[in-house]
């Protein structure tokens, strides 16, 4: 899926709260609540993050939330829509097909299309799905969401069984929740009018919708079309949509105007006359315009411009109005992802120590997430107590993650864990004085005399993160763990933090911090913990965890899923939890239908309306 690691990109959910912040004076829409037709609503893009790719079969180089979920999906709908209120669950109403039917011990999937129509008048058929799947088979290396052994490698056959039905056979039994949410949700049916290799060719002449061997030329044609930003608004291909919106204007700066697709056959027709996305060069610029109150209808408020939220507040929103006017209503926007600091089992010096559970526990105990929330994130963060975010409340978070979780900040406990495992405080730093693998010794491979001088490499540029690492360094030193912090540009950190595998002898990084990883609809751990996975940075290879992770892919029960979550929350494999900040969004008081936002970062302006 379109997962990615970023600092603070709002991907998530708006828990909403039709109710608002007490004291904000903005608890109701101004001037009434009756929806009216028409009007132009403006959405503030995140700073420096404008859409610039329109072809929904997106490669890694062009994959971004701003291009896919906040631009393409408004025009070209995925087969299965995820995001239901503030939950990352399937939304049957907005999906193009009825819920898939799993048969033969979940090795066969049958999908029945709803009667959707493309804006050129053609009916959406199973061939349109086949078109996508053929391209997926042929061009999987160019698909941003491709994970070896997963979609489409786990699909044996795809058969159009009727104009409205398509059947897949799978190579194994899969969890229907996972397969629908993280695999089938990647499918975006494409119109046959796109199946060609030149402007003058007839629709369907490319042959990709029937023969995957012919897909490369079609892919190249569409890819090159998508590279031409200046033709987005005029290119007839891109005007054939099945979503509620059509592109009216587009420029390379990121100014986007969409108008309703008059032939949209989905359940919610847009009420707005126009929907605009506005680009911004910085958070400051966006907030200045938002404060002006006349240009932006929906936009986020930078953390630095939010008032300190009280630690005792039960609301996730500011304690008082963050803006001079009462023109806006506020709502939180949570991140559906995992905020964590990878640790490197393969580091030649500290890898053996980092592999010890007690040692990871001690490190986790020195991270004061509550202080980080209050000081670094000004009260707009939620502690991560395991791999699944606990806000908004959701079915995936396990019991072990509730409350303060298993490893709430406790320096005394961290020290005890170290001293009870063969470490002694020497000159303010814990030093291994009892090497060996007995329960009261430092652990396998940890040499006697090794002092705890760890290095944390982190992505600079975000003041809150600077504060978090400083706080951690200070707290860890009290437990005898000396952390050297090394600030580097984001891309240097993600380049350094690679899974070392066979190159362990030269694997220099020890701990890293560069943001969070977003999840697909089902927050499984396969990318993080399966040996050899792309973002198994710390080279975790734990057979029990591999087994638990694999089970979540093949068994859809929540019990199985929670066993995986509990294990990760307890064992801290290759990762320490760090607080997960969320966004506060402002939207015009005379608007409705805006909140809650989709938990996976998509926006649905067809739900928005002005009130009278």
């Amino acid at each position: 899926m379109f997962n990615g690691r970023r600092w603070l990109v709002p991907v998530a959910t708006l828990t909403v709260l039709g109710s608002l912040v007490a004291g904000c004076g903005s608890s109701n829409n101004a001037g009434g609540t009756t929806p009216q037709q028409g009007g132009t609503a403006t959405w503030a893009e995140l700073s420096g993050a404008s859409p610039n790719w329109i072809f929904p079969f997106v490669d890694s180089a062009h994959n971004s939330v701003n291009s896919v979920t906040q631009f393409e999906n408004l025009m070209y709908r995925p087969l299965y829509w995820f995001g239901n209120g503030n939950q990352p669950t399937i939304n049957d109403s907005l999906s193009l097909a009825a819920e898939p039917i799993y048969q033969n011990n979940n090795t066969t999937v049958v999908m029945n299309l709803k009667p959707y129509v493309w804006s050129n008048g053609e009916k959406m058929t199973a061939q349109d799905v086949q078109f996508w799947m053929n391209m997926m088979f042929a061009e999987k290396a160019n698909w941003a969401g491709y994970v070896p052994t997963e979609f489409p490698d786990n699909v044996k056959t795809v058969t159009v069984t009727s104009p409205t039905q398509i059947t897949m056979t799978l190579d194994n039994t899969y969890s229907n929740t996972w397969f629908t949410g993280n695999e089938l949700a990647q499918i975006t049916p494409m119109p046959l009018a796109w199946d060609k290799t030149s402007d003058s060719a007839a629709p369907g002449s490319g042959g990709c919708s029937t023969d995957q061997n012919k897909c490369d030329a079609v892919y190249q044609y569409l890819y090159n079309k998508s590279k031409n930003l200046s033709t987005y608004q005029s290119e007839p291909l891109w005007q054939i949509v099945d979503g509620p919106w059509k592109l009216k204007t587009f420029d390379s700066d990121g100014n986007v105007t969409m108008v309703p697709n008059p032939t949209y056959s989905g359940p919610v027709k847009p009420k707005l006359a126009e929907f605009k996305e506005l680009p911004f060069t910085s958070d400051t610029a966006e907030f200045n315009v938002l404060r002006g109150g006349n240009t932006i209808n929906v936009g986020d408020i930078p953390i630095t411009d939010l008032p300190q939220r009280s630690v005792t507040s039960s609301s996730p929103l500011p304690d008082h109005n963050p803006m001079p006017s009462t023109n806006y209503t506020y709502a939180p926007n949570y991140v559906w992802g995992w905020s964590y600091a990878p640790i490197n089992y393969a580091n030649p010096t500290y890898g053996p120590a980092l592999k010890q559970l007690y040692f990871r526990q001690a490190l986790q105990l020195t991270i004061d997430q509550k202080t980080d929330d209050q000081v670094a994130w000004r009260g707009y963060a939620v502690p991560m107590t395991g791999p699944i975010p606990t806000a908004p409340p959701n079915q995936f978070a396990s019991q072990a993650e509730q409350g303060d979780g298993p490893y709430a900040f406790n320096i005394g406990r961290a020290k005890n864990l170290l001293t009870s495992h063969g470490w002694t405080m020497q000159n303010g730093t814990m030093t291994c004085t009892s090497a060996g693998s007995a329960p009261n010794q430092c652990g396998d491979g940890v040499p006697a005399g090794q002092a705890l001088h760890l290095t944390l490499e982190y992505a600079n540029g975000v003041k809150s993160v600077d504060q978090i690492v400083q706080q951690w360094k200070s707290d860890a030193s009290q437990a005898g763990i000396d952390i050297t912090i090394n600030a580097q540009p984001f891309n240097t950190v993600i380049s350094d933090t690679t899974s070392c595998g066979q190159k362990a002898s030269t694997c220099g990084w020890q701990m890293a911090l560069f943001g969070y990883e977003t999840y697909g609809a089902v927050p499984t751990g396969d990318p993080f913990f399966l040996p050899g996975s792309a973002i198994n940075y710390g080279s975790v290879n734990d057979p029990h965890l591999t087994d638990l992770t694999n089970k979540t892919l093949h068994d859809g029960s929540m019990t199985t899923f929670h066993q995986y979550v509990d294990y990760v929350a307890q064992q801290l494999p290759g990762a320490l939890n760090t607080p997960d900040s969320y966004f506060v969004y402002a939207y015009s008081r005379n608007m409705g239908g805006v909140a809650p936002f989709n938990p996976l970062g998509v926006i649905t302006p067809e739900n928005w309306y002005f009130t009278k």
Binding site: A61, D251, D253, P279, F280, T281, N288, F490, I494
Partner: protein
């Protein structure tokens, strides 16, 4: 003069080449190559390798430079994956915006700074001179983001007179027509620049006012205003012209902070944004444009110097 110009142009080409080579080398020495920056942490090793080969990052540095230079000679500055646009198009889109903003701010700064400098020179060591010097230093020392934000708070929020963001149109005509939105970004840049120009003008005018030709003109009965405007100013502006020539690179490089605060995506913002993601083609393209502006600016300053001061002869 012609021979001098030819020699300077040839020197300039050499300088531009060297700047390109040095920039190219330095960029490629940065830790963490472009592949992971562009493709993201989840890219498979196969995808990373494909990207590296496709963009020749696997070849020796000098060969990469040769390929880039060959493309350059064919008018191809490369392609930005991050922005999905040709570098030439990006520059063509951003450069006019930057030039408009910077040019307007320089013109405004000159229109204010020159009379100010003359006034201060003629009224030197008076209260007026001290006050204006104080303001000049204040604005000169003030970071542009702070000044920009102060102006926004004062003139957009407290007194809602001007737009807090610069013009958002892509067309130059529309940008120029949106005078209200231009006021604050232009004022921010101009206020910071005024100090430099006015101080140069002040000291230069002061120096010229003590020259013999001024006394001679006064002895011949010329009015003070005529002496200053007709005689002193022409001589006094020579150093300002040099300063103007050296401002040319800034005209092309843009003003990152002001562009960022006022939501005006120009060259400065483009360079910064792409530096973060190791977008080599954009960085090289922008550097090349700024390098050309620098040598051309320097050349123009020399030529202007000769035009303004007949004593200067270039052999």
């Amino acid at each position: 003069m012609a021979a001098y110009l030819v020699r300077r142009v040839l020197q300039s080409i050499l300088v531009i080449l060297l700047v390109s080579l040095v920039t190219f080398t330095l960029l490629h020495l940065l830790p963490g190559g472009p592949a992971r920056a562009i493709l993201g942490p989840r890219a498979t090793s196969q995808q990373l390798q494909q990207f590296i080969v496709q963009n020749h990052y696997d070849k020796p540095l000098i060969l990469q430079f040769g390929l880039w230079f060959n493309d350059l000679l064919h008018g191809n500055l490369g392609y930005s994956y991050h922005l999905n646009e040709n570098v030439a198009s990006l520059i063509a889109d951003r450069l006019p915006k930057t030039i408009v903003l910077m040019l307007l701010s320089i013109v405004v700064a000159l229109l204010i700074a020159i009379p100010l400098g003359v006034y201060q020179a003629r009224k030197r060591n008076t209260v007026g001179d001290y006050v204006l010097t104080g303001f000049s230093f204040l604005f000169y020392a003030m970071p542009s983001f702070l000044l920009g934000l102060l102006l926004i708070i004062l003139f957009s929020f407290v007194l809602p007179w001007f737009s807090p963001e610069a013009p958002q149109s892509d067309s130059l005509g529309a940008i120029l027509a949106d005078g209200n939105a231009l006021v604050l970004p232009v004022a921010t840049l101009a206020l910071i620049t005024i100090a430099a120009f006015s101080r140069y003008t002040r000291s230069s005018v002061m120096e010229n006012l003590t020259q013999d030709y001024v006394r001679t003109a006064a002895a011949n009965g010329a009015k003070d205003s005529r002496i200053v405007v007709k005689h002193v100013l022409r001589n006094a502006l020579i150093p300002v012209v040099t300063l103007l020539g050296l401002s040319l690179p800034a005209l092309f490089a843009g003003a990152l902070i002001v562009e960022s605060v006022f939501n005006y995506p120009g060259m400065g913002f483009l360079f910064w944004q792409e530096a973060i993601v190791r977008d080599y083609p954009v960085l090289l393209g922008v550097t090349l444009v700024v390098a050309i502006a620098t040598v051309v600016g320097s050349l123009l300053a020399d030529i202007a110097y000769a035009v303004l001061d007949p004593r200067v002869k270039y052999a």
